[in-house]
């Protein structure tokens, strides 16, 4: 197939440029930055190695009994349950912890940690599990054969297997029976230049602001500044996976 066919038509480019320029001029909601605004007039260029997307979760701010992020994620990606908790897809989950010695109680959310060295990618026989150049770990469902080796390998229990046939999936996350899936870090939003995940948006709206999404490679991003000034941890740091999701106050 010739390569010229995947270039957008000229009038489309002009159109995009116009929209982005207009959108960039708007004052957006707090925390929402239109990343594409910096590349105005350009055709969509896809993921870039100049970024590494990640998240920071503040265990002190994750509120008791709240599940706004879970619902937002399910809504965003069309994750419909079948009332079968053992087999229903879970991309993000709250976990409440108690320190065995001190009795200190914490609450946080777990999802795919978007490792720099993801074990799921190492074990995938068909290269269906892969890490995008901007650090987002994804499953290419066109290649996944459903062997579930990645689920065996993931130290975070972050992945789900689609156990039944689905219809009416979301365009944000096409998904189907027999493939493995997990948090995509709202990659459809990143590609569209919307720098906020569905879970962060929901958490902010609830007023908790426990989730912060951003670019770990940009020293001026909010997430980089917080990470630099405060002590954060990686879950299972002993594995040296260099996770893209970090935790405060854990």
């Amino acid at each position: 197939m010739s390569n010229k066919s995947d270039q957008p038509s000229v009038d489309r480019r002009q159109f995009i440029g116009g929209t982005v320029a207009a959108a960039g001029a708007l004052t957006l909601a707090p925390g929402v930055i239109l990343h594409a605004a910096s590349e105005k007039g350009k055709a969509p260029s896809g993921a870039s190695g100049n970024h590494r997307w990640g998240m920071l979760i503040d265990a002190n701010k994750c509120a008791e009994g709240c599940s706004a992020c879970v619902e937002a994620c399910n809504n965003e990606h069309g994750l419909t349950g079948f009332d079968r908790p053992a087999t229903d897809a879970v991309w993000i989950r709250p976990v409440k912890l108690k320190d065995k010695q001190t009795g200190h109680v914490n609450r946080l959310v777990m999802m795919c940690q978007h490792c720099e060295h993801p074990p799921c990618v190492d074990v995938c026989p068909t290269n269906a599990s892969f890490k995008r150049i901007d650090g987002v770990v994804l499953v290419d469902r066109h290649r996944c054969i459903g062997c579930r080796y990645c689920m065996m390998a993931c130290p975070y229990k972050a992945r789900s297997f689609v156990h039944e046939a689905l219809t009416d999936q979301s365009v944000n996350a096409p998904r189907g029976k027999g493939c493995v899936e997990s948090c995509t870090l709202c990659v459809h939003r990143i590609d569209a230049g919307v720098m906020q995940t569905a879970c962060q948006e929901a958490c902010d709206k609830e007023g908790h602001s426990a989730i912060l999404f951003g670019d770990l490679k940009d020293p001026n991003s909010e997430i980089s500044r917080v990470l630099k000034s405060r002590n954060s941890v990686q879950i299972r740091a002993d594995l040296e996976l260099n996770t893209g999701v970090r935790y405060l106050n854990l």
Partner: protein
Amino acid sequence: MSKMYYRELYCGSPVRFWMGLALLGAFIAVGLGAAYFMEHQGHWVTGMSNQIVWGLPHVFAIFLIVAASGALNVASIGSVFGGPLYKPLGRFSGLLAIGLLVGGLMVLVLDLGRPDRLIVAMTEYNFKSIFAWNVILYSGFIAIVAVYLWAMIDRGMERFKRPLGFAAFFWRIALTTGTGSIFGFLVAREAYDAAIMAPMFVIMSFSYGLAFFIITLIAAYMWGDRELGDLRLTRLKNLLGVFVGAVLYFVLAYNLTNLYATQHHGIERFILLDGGIYTVMFWIGQILIGSIIPLFLIYSPAFEKSRWAIAAASVAVLIGGFFQIYIIVIAGQAYPMNLFPGKEVIESGFFDGQVANYIPTFPEAALGVAGIAVALALVAIGARIIKVFPETLED
């Protein structure tokens, strides 16, 4: 020693042969139906879940694949290590190895989420993945053993027999190392992530493969009303005893290593003391049935020449081996991953910190049994059309 003549194996009564084959066919049909049902409905109809992602089909598949490489040992001893008593058994050893591997692979493939995409697994390789290596190791094994079998049968190929025997031997060691490494290289779970898994799987394959070999050999010679000498059987029996002992040694070494490291006490406690069904499977299934009873049957002077004792010991080894793989695969997943050392999970949206529940369902078992049936059917048909069995194996 007089000259060996090989002849196709015909059952004493043709009715028995065809009835036997029909029975195997019925098991296979039920298993394929079950696989279709599971694929069509999706995996929610099985006992598997997002916690126990590999279930009973994987236990059957790994069991058969491990046994397959071990079944080839008899041929290797004959042509690589030059054991004259084993030489006449080499052809059957090759046939059984292929049969068991095909049976195991069928189960493995039909339990994939997308078996229709098998072609992707054949064309897209991630060479960091043990699974991708295994795709090559498994298909290569079938090819090499098939040629090896040919070299053992065809006089014109005689000069290739030894090199092929060597190739097959090293290939099978690589194959079982690969199978063991599926678990050995998983850093996430406490029961795995141990280099000893690879050699342990090699020793397990020696043991299960030989047990399969002995049972099918005795059955075939009864079936075909042929003579099978005690001397040869005693040799095989003694070898089985050594292998069972070796497996026990590896199990001991694996558990002792875990018992030494405090962070692994949880999983050890789970398997050895309070894992419920898994603890029972370990002590009764793996240790008592799979190790102690066979060792007793093999080494007790009371059963020195008893063919039934040899057969019973082999069956016990297989039952114990099945439990051993069940514990490795299922219990290893059921025990919760320790995501937060020093913390106790008091609430989770995804079963963190809980022992996962797994109850195998009928379709899973039917698929697994169909794998064994495929292996046996291939051997039965193969032995009838290829000259694998010597006319007589008297001493």
